[in-house]
């Protein structure tokens, strides 16, 4: 057969050709859209940032925010005592920037005293005081308010107002993450407005839809399903924001978001999806791609218990060598490259790229089919059936992997893994489930293996312990290793960074030898940003964190920047 060069179908990437008619139409539109905005020069704040998110934010009050989008949006309206640094350091106070708190002192090993910034005011003009901080702490701790941050601040035993602008935090014991716990989880809420509302009625109270904050932006308009409009607070005590308005719109389909970015209809999306989407954006000169480390990692979790009767060990995965053999039989680097493209990375354990632990040098499991074969044969999987799968006592070496259908990346990884494991004589059946069904099956332990994805906070201790520690609430596969548990505890309670590091390293090495999962990949995330935006930085845990400092060059403004901006 002749081997010709592949036929390529011409498919222009950007907007290549615009017909005359189209040009006329666009011109007409531009006239309509600009007619209403006078041609005044841009004094800061000016312009509009349009942000695409995939799902509607559930709230605009931080204490109820759960999704990352709601956290980013509420973060623009409400301030914490201090903001975590861009390096996401959570040990001591390194890198933290003042916000509501102007300064702080470590009074003793269990007390931090904050001095509040006297310039800080609520939108209604009231000053922000120590009373608000105390109120906020009580709010976050209150069972009826039921904030999911409640557990993260459980080491804080008391918050008291010493003066109108002095507040003291007391901790149950000395540890490295005290400052992080005092500042990262809570954003200060206005006591004078919210204190009179019964706590259980707060969640649905009218004030939660018209929040009064102290941040760089104020809520302009909120359409539940579609858009949140934020307007700059020109009197913000830390300096006026750079951009006059932020419109956050809900666009569920990432293809649509990417097309909108390319067509300059939107300015920012923190997630672009597949590498091919990222590539499309890269090819557009008006839009920049910003890579930043993600706080998530993807894994194949093994169930160590028999899914049909949890008291019995799993017939396959209770055996450590079978688990290791599966890890050795998949070419994780190839999967990462195929699925994530350039930003590929294989994790060494349950850690994400945005996590400070990422730099610790723990060896990755190598791709070594020979070693895998050796391990399987040592366990009696010596024969092979007609389809090439290993057989022992007439039983095929076969298991089912649960995959949530909502995640394209995970599905792709599963399909590649299926093929690689087939080559090693292991049958992996893929069972795609709708996200909630997948979650329920996984959480109830009704699976052989499940393809999961955990997001982490800057401090990963709670998330790692919850997912892999004995009896952890999210330990779906019932993994239990007392040595690992104690190393984890030691790492969390370490009083200096070196000690913490030693314990973390030991814990991760242990997980490598006795793997409860295959750590598949730790993605780096790509955000699309319109080129006219300057001073842009995307922090891994919160896309909105630095947005108030973003700016638009006045000579690069688009017509839509001016429409309706007061």
């Amino acid at each position: 057969m002749l081997d010709l060069a592949p036929l390529t179908i011409p498919f222009p990437g950007g907007h290549m050709r615009t017909t005359k008619a189209a040009a006329c139409l666009t011109l007409a539109w531009t006239i309509v859209i600009t007619a209403c905005a006078s041609d005044r020069p841009c004094a800061s704040p000016c312009g509009t940032i349009i942000v695409n998110i995939t799902g509607a934010p559930e709230t605009v009050l931080p204490v109820f925010a759960v999704s990352s989008n709601a956290q980013a949006i509420t973060g623009l309206l409400f301030l914490p005592l201090a903001e975590i640094g861009n390096d996401l350091n959570y040990l001591g106070d390194g890198g933290f920037e003042p916000r509501i708190a102007r300064s702080w002192t470590f009074e003793d090993s269990v007390t931090i005293v904050f001095a509040l910034d006297r310039r800080a005011t609520w939108e209604d003009g009231e000053p922000v005081t120590a009373r608000d901080v105390v109120f906020t702490y009580e709010l976050y701790r209150h069972p009826a308010v039921n904030s999911d941050e409640r557990e993260d601040i459980s080491d804080i035993v008391a918050v008291e107002a010493r003066e109108e602008h002095i507040v003291a935090f007391s901790f149950s014991h000395p540890y490295q993450q005290q400052f992080y716990d005092a500042t990262y989880h809570m954003r200060i809420h206005p006591a004078h407005l919210l204190d009179t509302i019964p706590r259980e009625a707060l969640r649905t109270h009218d004030l939660t839809r018209a929040p009064v904050g102290s941040g760089p932006y104020r809520l302009g308009r909120w359409d539940v399903n579609s858009t949140v409009e934020l307007l700059a607070n020109p009197d913000f005590f830390l300096g006026a924001p750079g951009v006059a308005r932020i419109v956050v719109q809900v666009v569920p389909d990432l293809n649509t978001t990417v097309s909108q970015l390319i067509a300059e209809e939107t300015d920012f999306a923190d997630f672009l999806g597949s590498p091919s989407n990222v590539q499309r954006v890269r090819e557009t000169k008006e839009v920049a791609v910003i890579d930043f480390p993600s706080l998530a990692y993807v894994f194949v979790g093994f169930n160590l218990r028999d899914p049909s009767s949890p008291n019995r060990p799993h017939p396959l995965f209770a055996n450590r060598d079978v688990r290791r053999a599966i890890g050795l039989a998949v070419d994780l680097a190839a999967i990462a490259e195929a699925v994530l493209g350039d930003s590929s990375a294989v994790p060494s354990g349950p850690v994400s790229r945005g996590n400070a632990l990422w730099d610790y040098e723990v060896e990755r499991t190598p791709f070594d089919v020979g070693r895998a074969t050796q391990l399987l044969e040592s366990q009696g999987w010596t024969e092979t059936d007609s389809q090439g799968y290993r057989v022992r006592n007439g039983q095929r070496l076969s298991f089912t992997l649960l995959v949530p259908s909502s995640s394209g990346m995970r599905r792709q990884a599963a399909i590649i893994m299926e093929s690689q494991l087939h080559a090693a004589g292991i049958e992996m059946l893929i069972e795609e489930l709708e996200f909630n069904a997948w979650y329920e099956r996984s959480q109830r332990g009704r699976f052989d293996a499940t393809l999961g994805n955990w997001g982490q906070k800057p401090n990963p201790a709670n998330a790692i312990g919850g997912a892999w520690g004995t009896g952890g609430p999210d330990n779906w596969g019932s993994y239990s290793n007392a040595a690992f548990d104690s190393m984890l505890a030691a790492a969390s309670r370490a009083t200096n960074p070196a000690q913490a590091r030693t314990n973390w390293l030991a814990a991760l090495r242990l997980l490598q030898r006795d793997p409860p999962a295959v750590w598949v990949f730790a993605p780096s995330q790509a955000a699309g940003v319109h080129g006219r935006l300057q001073n842009v930085f995307v922090r891994s845990d919160d896309w909105g964190a630095t947005m108030w400092r973003w700016q638009i060059a006045s000579d690069q403004m688009l017509p839509r920047d001016r429409v309706g901006v007061p």
Partner: protein, 322 residues
């Protein structure tokens, strides 16, 4: 006729009630937990989960929940949206007008295009034009709707830049003058409405062609022609009037199809209507929102069918006699 209307109203109420019950039960049977669905990919303590469940009344047994739900419903309360911390009605109040606008535009496109094509075909059956149009309408009917949407988006949105790519209005809509707002709405409506309406146009054209051909074959058309009426008068006055009945039936039947199609179109075009809201709410296991949207969708469909039936009776008194 009055009894007929009353009976149909009663039946419609029963249908909507049954649909609500079925949705209620199906949702709670479906795996997944509304509380867990709020915490995607993040760990959360059981304590928090339990408190949510208690405050949403999910800790009670299904029959108790059902009775409470019905009680609220009778008072016109669709319950709270779990994921948005506000009444489910708020979600619908925002989404419903968007869906109605899209559906009406799509219906308009379907019927206007379909009737014109169908009339052109039916008036000259088996002509060359008839055959060409048959193939074209078949082709349009056969295109998967989401594919059509993406292609429209790519060609007319991105390459040509004629129309915006998604959303029902621009993000800066509110700052526009009235004329600008109208133009903005129109520009956003074109692609989704075409996507949703073209498939329907093909169906309408096919049915209308058949009806027209049949009407033309009937004697009275021959009589009308014999009387020396112009071809145009024959087509418009006589044949069209008689072919209206199938069109009315089509209208009733096309409503459910529209609602199903709108889920995909709304998803692709980020059109914040009921279909998209339902899609998201199913994903978040937001029981009350899903049930409310299904009920309202069912009400619209049932009402549409009822109107179609009434029109049918008014247009053709013979049906009332049997």
């Amino acid at each position: 006729m009055g009894r007929f209307v009353l009976r149909r109203l009663a039946q419609s109420a029963v249908i909507v009630f049954l649909v609500a019950t079925l949705t209620f039960v199906l949702l709670r049977m479906a795996p997944g937990d509304p509380v867990r669905a709020q915490f995607r990919d993040v760990t959360v303590s059981q304590e928090v989960i339990d408190e949510y469940r208690r405050s949403w009344g999910l800790d009670r047994s299904m029959p108790v929940q059902y009775v409470q739900y019905l009680g609220n419903l009778i008072r016109g309360d669709f319950g709270q949206s779990f994921s948005l911390h506000r009444p489910a009605w708020d979600v619908i109040r925002e989404a419903l007008p968007n869906t109605v606008v899209l559906a009406l535009a799509a219906l308009g496109i379907s019927f206007a295009t379909g009737m014109v094509l169908g009339t052109a075909q039916g008036a000259n059956p088996n002509s060359r034009m008839d055959h060409t149009l048959t193939v074209i309408t078949l082709a349009v009917f056969s295109i998967p709707i989401f594919w059509l949407g993406l292609m429209f988006m790519l060609v007319f949105g991105q390459w040509m830049g004629w129309f915006p790519i998604g959303g029902e209005v621009s993000p800066v809509y509110r700052g526009l003058p009235l004329v600008g707002q109208l133009a903005d709405r129109f520009r956003h409506l074109v692609l989704p409405a075409l996507t949703l309406g073209l498939g329907g146009a093909a169906v309408v054209a096919r049915f209308h062609r058949a009806a027209m051909a049949e009407a033309f074959a009937e004697n009275f058309i021959r009589t009308a022609r014999a009387k020396g009426l112009s071809e145009q008068t024959v087509v418009l006055k006589h044949a069209l009037r008689n072919a209206l009945l199938p069109a009315i039936t089509m209208f009733g039947l096309s409503l459910p199809v529209l609602f199903s199609g709108s889920v995909l179109v709304e998803y692709v075009f980020a059109w914040h209507g009921m279909g998209l809201a339902a899609f998201e709410a199913v994903g978040r296991r937001d029981y009350n929102v899903v049930t409310a949207i299904t009920m309202i969708g069912a009400t619209l469909v049932v009402a549409g069918n009822m109107v179609a039936d009434l029109l049918y009776r008014l247009a053709d008194p013979r049906t009332a006699e049997s």
